[in-house]
């Protein structure tokens, strides 16, 4: 058995680590490239969402390199993500590949199926051993998330342009080499210290932007044109509304992000009172939280034809109006060009700067928000 998987942010490190612990043979597909997208787009339905197309490209490239088992996440709720594995399985079968598709269900919703799918990956291992391996690999991936979070907070203040990105690579390498639990602990400390040692100019003026939206677009830099680096280099402090381990982890507390799903749902409540699949409610709720936390604005990312984010997108203008809070929605698919993206981002950033100059500082914004319709406020506080 030779297993392969799609790329998504740093999930490659997590799965590589896990399969090594489980003694499973695996192939990492070539990094996402224009070729990957071309392959995926050619064989996927035209109106399928963008992540399906890109990950299909990953599978084709992995199969061409000799993989015979594919691993793909499943999903719950009214979002097409839950059908990806099956849709992709059928497309690939029609293309004449022979392979087995293993669908991994979200651990929180389907714990038994979740562990069963890994039993299929590593039939010789005992359930207890599999649990242990998942736990350690997960903790390692969580450190990776903390590194990413720190990078977003440091980059706008770096004294030497580009140093944070370089140091991040070193930090990831350090962590990647750690295997034993004690080594991971040590690597965590070293990696975070390494990032802390980057010379920073804390006096620098900066903007604060929150990133919300669909998880794949937020996590995978190739499809969002390295948006985080682009914004960071414009001296913008970023916080992201999705981290890998928060997203796949069984806990709703989101330890990396520091905002729990319950809080997000409460914040969203006045505008969206129920789960709509994917990150639709997260997008709405987190946007409101970013506004209350005094951010200058929010950038919302979504794939073209994404249903849950489309719901969020139609709610965001109302929030923007009620809270006097700038929000920019960016829609991505294989047709998206970098030039149009940059024009919109530049204009948005200038909008935020002129607000600051006018004295519409985040603090005052909070006051405006508090003075506004009290429903928003009580909505967020409701337990």
């Amino acid at each position: 058995m030779k297993i392969t998987f799609p790329h998504m942010g740093h999930i490659e490190f997590l799965l590589k680590d896990l399969f090594t612990r489980l003694d499973v043979d695996f192939i990492i597909p070539p990094p996402n490239s224009t070729e990957t997208i071309k392959l995926g787009v050619r064989h996927a339905p035209e109106l399928a969402c963008y992540p399906l197309k890109v990950t299909l490209g990953n599978f084709i490239e992995g199969l061409e390199k000799g993989a015979d088992t594919l691993i793909m996440a499943g999903g719950v709720g009214p979002c097409r993500f839950g059908y990806y594995a099956e849709t992709q399985r059928r497309i690939l079968k029609q293309l004449g590949y022979s392979f087995e598709m293993i669908r991994v269900e979200p651990p929180a919703a389907h714990p038994i199926q979740f562990i069963k799918s890994f039993k299929r990956v590593a039939p010789k291992k005992k359930i207890r051993e599999i649990w242990k391996a998942i736990k350690v690999s997960f903790s390692k991936a969580q450190v990776m998330d903390f590194i990413e979070k720190k990078v977003l907070a440091i980059r706008p203040f770096e004294v030497n342009k580009g140093e944070t990105t370089k140091t991040k690579k070193k930090a990831i390498k350090l962590l990647d080499q750690a295997f034993l639990e004690s080594e991971i602990e040590k690597a965590k400390e070293e990696a975070l210290n390494l990032l802390d040692s980057i010379p920073q100019d804390k006096e620098k003026p900066f903007l604060k932007i929150g990133l919300v939206g669909e998880f794949y677009l937020l996590l995978e830099p190739f499809v969002n044109f390295d948006l985080e680096e682009l914004l960071g280099n414009m001296d913008i402090y970023l916080e992201r509304g999705v981290y890998l381990t928060d997203w796949i982890g069984p806990s709703s507390k989101n330890p990396v992000m520091g905002v729990s799903n319950e809080e997000i749902a409460q914040a969203a409540f006045p505008y969206l009172s129920h789960f709509v699949g994917g990150e639709g409610r997260q997008t709405v709720g987190h946007t409101i939280i970013f506004a209350y936390q005094g951010f200058d604005g929010v950038i919302h990312l979504m794939p073209f034809t994404c249903m849950p984010e489309l719901i969020a997108k139609s709610i965001l203008p109302k929030i923007s109006q009620d809270l006097d809070f700038p929000i920019l929605t960016l829609v991505f698919d294989e047709q998206t060009g970098k030039a149009g993206l940059i024009t919109r981002i530049e204009a948005f950033v200038e909008l935020l700067i002129s607000r600051r100059r006018k004295g519409l500082s985040p603090k005052r914004l909070i006051k405006i928000a508090y003075r506004g319709d009290s429903l928003e406020l009580t909505g967020w506080k409701r337990r």
């Binding site: 224009t34 070729e35 700038p326 940059i342 024009t343 600051r356």
Partner: protein, 330 residues
């Protein structure tokens, strides 16, 4: 000869290339509006030569700004002091002409935007994304098909008592609908005005959705020359829409104003002089091949010296060629 001091603005878009010379007081000294014809470098060079020929006297260029989709490229060619996106440039120009403006409609060759301004700052904007059905190229195409010169389009539209109902969501369907209306005998002016109404409906539905379109409304961009569209906007919104005198070169005016702001600390301009219209720019491209992306890298050279190089995803080849650029923030 008297020597004026002034600022240049260059706006290179997909369809037109506009240049403006602005006096220190912000008055337009002269301007050039020409087609880009897919050759932005040539268009900037010829435009500069044309602008120079039109100037009433020699001017001392204190600053130059570029905007439009080819803003970085034209910035390299002219030696820009500031390179700004077209949304900001259009907003700045609109506020310069009508200081109390609260809504800006801009319809250009291939894109259209709406800018919401409150108390002198941009508070919201939108650009068309997936469809070009509401832009100048569409009107251009239909005018050609009807055998009407685009300059006459507005005049003919004004003659109509009412517009024919035309499906304007998609250019292709709009066209078949127009053919149908022609074939059942609608007068041409009603079809022309119907097209204007369809474009306006499409624009307001796509870009204006959920936005408070408060007066004064300024309408600029190449399409603002079309009085039929202006009339359709006024009828749809039930209010006045102001078309400024230099509506077709507002982007360039904005770029010049931004250049003035960028150089007000007394810094000497990067402007390379009107002579750049004589320089032979060699552009070439190659595939990087460093990774699976195989990005196409574009290179702009003068006498073997690399002025700019871009196009890669990773920044390995990037030389942006724009010397001192103002820090982005504050």
């Amino acid at each position: 000869m008297k020597r004026l001091k002034g600022y240049l603005g260059v706006d290179v878009g997909s369809v037109s290339t506009n240049l403006v010379a602005l006096s220190e007081e912000g008055e337009v000294i002269s301007y050039v509006y020409r087609r880009t014809q897919g050759q932005p470098i040539q268009a900037v060079q010829d435009g500069l030569a044309e602008l120079r020929a039109q100037l009433p006297c020699e001017i001392e260029v204190k600053g130059v700004g570029t905007t439009g989709s080819a803003r970085y490229l034209s910035g390299v060619i002219v030696g820009a002091d500031i390179v700004k996106n077209e949304i900001t440039a259009h907003a700045v120009a609109a506020m310069h002409v009508i200081p109390e403006v609260r809504t800006v409609f801009e319809i250009g060759g291939q894109d259209s935007k709406i800018i919401i301004i409150r108390d002198g700052i941009v508070v919201d904007f939108a650009m068309n994304t997936v469809c070009a059905a509401g832009t100048g190229s569409f009107l251009d195409h239909q005018a050609t098909r009807l055998g009407i010169p685009i300059e006459k389009f507005g005049e003919i539209a004004l003659r109509a008592k009412k517009g024919a109902q035309i499906a304007g969501r998609c250019t292709v369907f709009a066209e078949s609908d127009m053919i149908h209306k022609q074939q059942i005998g609608y007068p041409v002016e009603e079809i022309v005005y119907g097209l204007c109404e369809a474009l306006v409906r499409n624009y307001l539905n796509n870009l204006g959705k959920g936005k408070d379109l408060l007066p004064p409304i300024v309408f600029q961009g190449g399409v603002a020359a079309n009085e039929g569209i202006k009339r359709a906007f006024e009828e749809a919104l039930n209010g006045e829409v102001i078309v400024p005198k230099y509506h077709h070169v507002m982007g360039a005016i904005g770029a010049a104003l931004l250049a003035q702001e960028a150089t007000d600390d007394g810094e000497i301009s990067n402007f390379k002089g009107f002579e750049v219209s004589q320089i032979d720019y060699e552009t070439s491209s190659f595939f990087c091949g460093g990774c699976a992306n195989n990005c196409e890298i574009v290179k702009i050279q003068v006498d073997g010296e690399v002025l700019a190089r871009w196009g890669g995803r990773c920044g390995k080849w990037e030389v942006d060629g724009i010397g001192k650029r103002k820090a982005l923030l504050f």
